[in-house]
Structures are given as C-alpha cells and as structure tokens.
Symmetry: C2
Subunit: 359 residues, 2 copies
C-alpha cells in the first residue's frame, strides 16, 4: 500500500493506492472523521454497477455500520450535464441526504467530475471521496477539479473542490478492457513528459499496453500521480504552472468533441500532444527527434498520433470556446523536454493549422 | 465612508459602505488587483435596470477603461434556478467572458445569490463583487453563501464563495419602496438580537420605518453587518455558531414558500422569529416578556408577527426538506436574550405546531 499526501488550500488529503483498499475503506473513513452517523452515497455508472466491486464496497460499508446507498448514472460524457445534476439532487433529497452525507465517486473521470460537482454544490457542499476505477482517472481524481459540460463545450461549469481522500484499489484495473488501459497510459505518458523523464524512458523501452499486475500498477500509478500532486500543490487554482497539465488537452478536447467522443479521452490527448509538439518544433522548444520520440511513445502504447480529417474552422471554434485563452492569442501548454511545459499565450490559428496538418 | 474587513479561509475581503461608493469603484477594483484587461459583467434584474444606477456604474467603469457589460435577469426568487443559470452561462460565453472575467451582482439577495453561484461555478470560478442595493441584502451579501433553489426547496444548491469585495452605496436605499425597507429592517433586528442588544433598544425607542438619510443608514448597516462579520469569521462553513444567523429562517422559509412569496423574505423572518420565540418560551430560554418585546420590535417596524393560516403538515414538509436538521429532531436557532442564539437539534413537530398556533 502507498499513501501520498496532497496539500490543499481547502485542507490536505491522502491518496491511498493498494491491493486491498476497499476493505480498508472503513478505516480511512474513521481517519477522515466520517463516522457511522454519516450516510454514504456511492455514485457510479450502470456499466460499473454491472461489475462486482460496487456491491462489495456497499457490503463493506454496511458491515462496518454505515448506511450506504447507490445512485446510478448513464455511462458516458453526456451525463456530465445540468440535467443529470438536477436529477441527482432530487435523488439525494429522496434518500434523505443532507449536509452530513458523503458522496463516493466510484468510476472513471466522468463520474469523478460529475459526482464531485454534485458534492461541491449540494446544500453548499458535502464531503466527497474519489474511488477511481480506471487508469485514466489517476489524473482527474486528484487536484480538486470537478465539473460538468455545457452543449457549447467541456467542463465549462465546475469548481475547485478537493476530495476528503482518494481511494485507489488497483485490483479493479485488472478487468479493464485493453482500449481503456491504453487510454489511461496516455495520461501516464503526459505526466512523464511533465515531470518524470525517467518514467518516459522506461515506458519507451518497455511499453505497458495492458495491466501489468497489481504491484507494477501500484508503482506506475504512484509515479504518475506524484507528478500531478507536485504541480497542484504548487498551483492549486491553476493560475500558473498547473496549466502544464493541459498538455495536449487544447487540441485534444477539440478532437474529442468533434469526433462525438468516438475518439476517447486518452486517445485525444495523445493526438493533441503530438500536434502540439509540432508547434513546439516550429517554435524551437523541441527538436524534430524529440517530437518523434514522443510520437513513438504513444505509438508503442497503441495510441493514435494524427489529427483526423476535420474542418479546421471547427477545431478553431472549439479552441475558442475552451477557457484556455487570454489576451490576443490562445493559451497552450506546449511539450518540452527541458522543462515541465512551455506555457504560452500567443498561439495563432496559423500555427494550429500547420500543426494539425503535420501531425 | 466605512470599511469592514472580513477574514475568510478563501482570502480576506473588504466591505465598503458609504455615499459615493459607485464613483470609487475603479479604486476598489485596482486595490483588488482587477485591472482594465478584466472584462466586467453587471448582473441585475429588470426592475433594477429600470433605475439609474446600473447605467451610472457602467459609465464609471467604461470611463475608467474597463470593458463592461450587463446581463439582465427576471425579477423574483424564481430566477434562482438551474434554468436561469444555464442561460447566464451561455450569455457569458456569448460575451466572450472567460476566467479573467468579473461578475458584479447589482441588486438584492436574489441577484447576489444567483450571480454568486454563477461566479462560483462558471469555468470553475471567476471573481465576484457584491453591490447590494437593498437593505435586506446587507445580510446575504456577506459571508459567502451563494446558491439557487430547486422546486423542492430554497438554497438546496450552492457554494461557500466569498466575494472579492462588497460595495454598498447607501444613496440607493433612499429610493426603496417602504415595504422593502421594512423587510430589510427584519434582518437588522435579527442581527441586533444575535449580537447587538443596544441596537435593539435604540430601534425599540426609535423605530426606523423608512430611509433615515445616508449618514444614519450607513451607521445602521455597519452595525448590522458587524454582527454578521463577527459570526462568519468565527464559523465560515456553518458548522456551529453561524447557525445563529438562521434565527427565524426555519419557520420563516416554510411560510415564505407556502405563501408563494406573497409574504416577502423579511416579513417571513419576522414571523419565523416570533414563532420560534414561542418555542424558546416553552423551553425556558426566553421569558414571556422578552418574547413580547421581540414581537413589539417587529410590530413597530410594520412587520407581521403571526403565522398565517396554513396546513401545519405543509409547514412540517418544508422544514423537513430544509437542510437544517440532524439526527432525530430538527435543528433550530432559537431566540435568546442572554446569548447569540440557542442552537438545538431536537425540536419536535409538537413544539412547532404549538408555536405556530401561539404566535
């Protein structure tokens, strides 16, 4: 078992990573001063609810004396909507949940973002635990960003609302479909690029295209999460270096949305980083060889690296509505091999067009 | 001009109260590090927009070099809804507002709550200024509580999101309709009960049933706001003594909603405090004379003090859905003349029924 501590302006919290974390949940709850008089609501999507562990968590909680409930959500990014929020608020009220209640998000990034936003806003904020069940969610489950989408763009409504703790039982990763595993590796590679070039070198030599067993998964997760923890501690509210974590996400979000989510999040990030690496090359932040190395890293993990054929004006429109711009140009976190990322605020349409064509 | 400083876990902020505060707005913005590259959006309801000062504020901002916009909202509590939020998010996007934007809530409590919730959640939080224009809003504009209603109950969705500063230009109070002035006095009296018994004694001797002129209004506001500031500094997230501020609000909210807002907020608070004083009398927290003194204070200010004829089961249902309960009984802040309020968690249906009949 590993424990990482995250310092946050709204209270520090722990990340527990290990093989038996679900059975340890009652201990972690006690440590977080959540006692059996606090009702607990697991929020999960219907796919996850078809697997065994939500019921397992429920039994563990009930056995420890907690009242526990499940709220189910349709799978997919479409559930990150105001309409879903409204229905969940009502279901919480139906269950008699009030301020003493606790929400546990059991699932991937979508559930973490949605359930976290509910926790941040229901009765002005209730306690909240992240229990990520995908590799991808090792990114979204820390740092306190929660939110939902509007039809106009992703994550346009949200809050900074750190969880009370994060509980990562790596055994669940063993049952992930391979495509989901690979999607998660895209964020691991992103974290390597930002803060752990040794991890990158290891992954280049020995790509991890599927679950490597619990012990290795624990190490991998801890390495990826450590990069993120260091950055969010430095810049919790994303006024500076935290923008490095947006590496690949500016073009990536556009591609993801324009594909109507046929391209999954990690795949879109891989495509985004490779395209943004072309901007770095053009600006002299990366050599051609470095950009190729990055591209090969993703390819070795079975991830796409080329921007699909999309009307470039649609890409511009999505970037424009995205919140990452300031002043005259667009704000981008561009890949670098010498620093965490190059944060720039003056990327032009011409540069994006050229990068999308080249990638 | 008076300035109160509020200490907050999310950053301290100032309350400016005076006769020329609108013209000083550019100075206060600079002091809060909000420079002319930050676009500013005034959110106000259509009634307020029919008056002169929103345009006046707009001109002052433009004259100082800021880009400033207005978003109008339908008047009334019905605007504190998810649907209104959604439309405002889109209007912000249409105006090209992103994270650097600033919202100024120009109006009463409804606008402060709604615009504050938008500021708390748009792109995970943008800067926010409260510019209250009613006497009633001297209560809601400080302390950082923002939120909206669900059909099932008031303020069920929200956040703790303190403003960057509060700007109170008392000259606007001169044009308030008398009923609105009296509604505001209900919260002033509530604050007196909680933390300034001298203020109560003065109001008992010299009731203020209409605007007393800018200088006296400034003093009155400062006295009322000081009580609130002291309490929210002590307990920002409402885990303890801040509940004292709910004095009269438990029964009051029920009455307000069941009247379909024909009974205004301050009137409902007056009714609620008088009913809750009966519970205090029954429990020995207040003498009959003290309860009468409180009732007379409200009567001298032209405020209602008796619970209207409502099905008591409907009152119970509203209290039940309200978030102020914990454990077996209901949580109430009950009036006291010897401490700020008696916070109790075991009020029964029988006590509420008797209090409503007696009041």
């Amino acid at each position: 078992m590993m424990e990482l501590e995250v310092k946050s302006g709204k209270g520090n919290y722990s990340i527990y990573i290990g093989k038996k974390e679900y059975s340890l949940l009652p201990d972690y709850l006690e440590k977080a001063h959540i006692h059996t008089d606090s009702p607990i609501v697991l929020v999960a999507d219907k796919n996850v609810l078809g697997l065994s562990y939500p019921q397992q968590i429920l039994s563990i909680l009930e056995h420890a004396g907690y009242k526990a409930y499940i709220i189910d959500v349709e799978p997919g990014d479409e559930s990150k909507s105001l309409a879903t929020c409204e229905s969940i608020y009502y279901r919480l009220l139906d269950l008699g949940i009030h301020r003493t209640g606790v929400i546990i998000a059991v699932g991937g990034g979508v559930i973490g973002d949605l359930a976290g936003f509910i926790a941040a806003t229901f009765e002005r904020g209730i306690r909240f635990i992240q229990a990520p069940t995908t590799l991808l969610a090792h990114d979204s489950s820390i740092g306190g960003k929660v939110g939902i989408n509007l039809a106009r763009g992703k994550n346009l409504v949200g809050a900074f609302y750190p969880p009370n703790f994060v509980l990562y039982d790596v055994t669940v990763l063993g049952s992930l479909p391979e495509r989901e595993w690979r999607n998660g590796m895209a964020e691991v590679i992103k974290h390597g690029l930002i803060g752990n070039k040794n991890l990158l070198a290891r992954l280049y030599e020995h790509p991890l295209t599927s679950f490597p067993g619990a012990a290795d998964a624990e190490q991998l997760l801890a390495a990826g999460m450590k990069v993120k923890v260091d950055i969010v501690e430095e810049d919790e509210l994303e006024s500076g270096i935290r923008m490095a974590l947006n590496l690949g996400h500016t073009i990536g979000h556009a591609v993801e949305q324009l594909s109507h989510y046929a391209i999954h999040h990690g795949e879109a990030v891989a495509i985004g980083i490779c395209a943004e690496a072309q901007i770095s090359v053009a600006r002299g932040y990366l050599t051609r060889e470095e950009a190729l190395y990055i591209k090969e890293l993703f390819q070795k993990h079975g991830l796409p690296t080329e921007v699909p054929d999309l009307p470039i004006e649609d890409v511009f429109a999505k970037i424009e509505v995205d919140k990452k711009h300031r002043g005259s140009g667009w704000t981008f976190a561009l890949p670098s091999m010498t620093e965490r990322a190059k944060i720039v605020h003056d990327v032009t349409r011409g540069e994006v067009r050229a990068a999308c064509e080249l990638s």
